[in-house]
């Protein structure tokens, strides 16, 4: 116990080392949050385009070209590791000196997440029975209205668990921020580790923080799921 106290003091209290993790926590939160928002927005748009073309609802050439672009995007993003994407974004795409690293990280993880979210949303939209669609159209709703008021709400409920899964993955994926010297929780823990040469507490501490965040997130999602379920009865 004495040893633990000393280790704790050395790794977190001495020289205010906890600040590395605290700063990292802020970065992890903001990167994950904004990347998730960006990912949902872009992913939803891609899913709309993809499922509209998939259903054969549109003869428009423009939509078909857009669908082609989306497919290329999905292939490239899902076919390459996030770490390589992050390094490409930082050292090649945004090689300009005055770009904030946080913005680079948010964009990278946002673009990355969007690809996965798009497929999740698409699976949700495609899972809704075609009859629902026909019903909407025969009631006089336009295609967009049917999509917005009838299909999407049901689809959203179906994909919620998969979506939560994606955000948990996203949160943990941000642990590679250290590669561009952005201090997230992992990089903070690594910095402490490099100063104290003690692997246990910094690593276990970082793991515990991730675990707590994921638990809170999971609890929030399951509450949301329950509320949506009572709506349906």
């Amino acid at each position: 116990m004495q040893g633990f106290k000393e280790d704790f003091y050395l790794n977190f209290i001495k020289d205010d080392r906890w600040r590395y993790i605290a700063d990292g926590l802020g970065t992890t939160f903001s990167v994950t949050f904004f990347a998730a928002v960006f990912g949902i927005f872009l992913g939803f748009l891609i899913a709309l385009v993809r499922s509209t073309v998939d259903k054969g609802g549109s003869k428009s050439v423009f939509l078909k070209v857009l669908d082609g672009i989306c497919k290329v995007y999905l292939t490239v993003i899902r076919g390459t590791p996030a770490m390589i994407q992050l390094l490409i974004m930082y050292y090649i795409v945004f090689s300009s000196p005055n770009v904030s690293k946080q913005v680079v990280a948010i964009l990278t993880f946002g673009l990355n997440s969007a690809a996965y979210v798009a497929e999740i949303f698409r699976s949700g939209i495609m899972s809704i029975d075609q009859g629902q669609f026909e019903a909407g159209r025969s009631l006089g709703f336009s295609y967009a209205q049917t999509m917005l008021y009838i299909i999407t709400p049901q689809a959203f409920k179906n994909v919620l668990p998969a979506l939560a899964n994606e955000f948990i993955t996203l949160l943990k994926e941000t642990s590679i921020c250290g590669y561009i010297a952005l201090t997230d929780i992992t990089h903070g823990a690594n910095t402490i580790r490099s100063q104290t040469y003690e692997p246990y507490l910094p690593l276990l501490g970082a793991a515990l923080i991730y675990l707590i965040i994921v638990c809170v997130l999971t609890a929030g999602v399951s509450r949301l799921e329950r509320r949506l379920r009572t709506d349906a009865r």
């Binding site: 090689s95 300009s96 000196p97 690594n190 490099s194």
Partner: protein
């Protein structure tokens, strides 16, 4: 088919357009050590450069800790940071490959490199010290170093193991970070350098087989304390903090910290 081609071209042109928006790199603003406060200093995580630079944090400097020295140099070239604090010899190697960078004349600190060994393995430390002493007296160490440093002597005296070495002493696992020319670096898929040759020479005296493990610099001491590696050799300076966790052999060479900046 045409459509696929079109979208492909579109995607490529979009990427190219994005790449085009790299702004101009700001002019160098660090001309001496006195300029360091308030600047953004790039270092490799866990190196002595990191330790020295961290002292400037209190004076308003921002320290960016990269996993590799080369990443810090890349960021410096692109103007993302103002300077890089790193050991002299790797700095020379980097500047040779990047003519747009220069090393400031002022030396920052002189330090001694040594081999780190687990505190529980005092016997090995003693044996290594004996071997190092022998290498120093018979001139092997000097010839290894001059094989890598010095324009006239470079490549002239490669280390060769004496014939008929008995390797019955088992293996000696060496943890290193092979991105630190000329101490340890990759040359045609093989890790070479002063530290590697020196460790080989030590093994030849001890009658052991050298096994090299390449890892992140900040993981080396952990690897040694946990017994995953027997020794850590990575241009590692003896510092008070490190002595808390590991023992060091006698120093085998000295080095200095320098500051790398963009050229005018």
């Amino acid at each position: 088919m045409k459509k696929v081609l079109c979208t492909g071209l579109l995607a490529v042109s979009m990427v190219l357009a994005l790449m085009g928006c790299g702004g101009s790199v700001p002019e160098n603003s660090v001309h001496s050590i006195d300029d360091l406060p308030g600047k953004t200093i790039g270092v490799q995580l866990g190196t002595t450069g990191d330790i020295f630079a961290s002292d400037y944090e209190a004076e308003g400097s921002t320290i960016e800790r990269y996993n590799k020295g080369a990443d810090a140099i890349q960021a410096l070239k692109q103007g993302k940071i103002d300077c890089v604090m790193i050991d002299e010899q790797p700095a020379i190697a980097f500047v040779e490959k990047n003519p747009d960078l220069v090393i400031l004349d002022e030396e920052f600190a002189v330090e001694e490199y040594a081999i780190c060994v687990s505190k529980e393995n005092a016997e090995l430390t003693a044996k290594i010290n004996e071997a190092l002493a022998q290498l120093k007296t018979d001139g092997t160490l000097d010839s290894i170093i001059s094989n890598y440093i010095g324009d006239e002597t470079k490549g002239k005296s490669p280390y060769e193991a004496p014939e008929g070495v008995n390797r019955s002493g088992g293996t000696l696992v060496m943890a290193t970070n092979a991105a630190f020319e000329p101490y340890e670096f990759y040359e045609s898929q093989e890790i070479v350098g002063i530290d590697v040759d020196m460790a080989r020479a030590v093994c030849d005296i001890l009658g052991m087989e050298l096994v090299i493990e390449d890892m992140e610099f900040d993981a080396i001491i952990n690897a040694v304390t946990s017994g995953k590696a027997d020794i850590g050799v990575a241009g590692m300076t003896i510092t008070e903090d490190r002595l808390q966790s590991v023992d060091f052999s006698d120093p085998y060479t000295t080095a200095t910290q320098v500051i790398v900046v963009r050229g005018e």
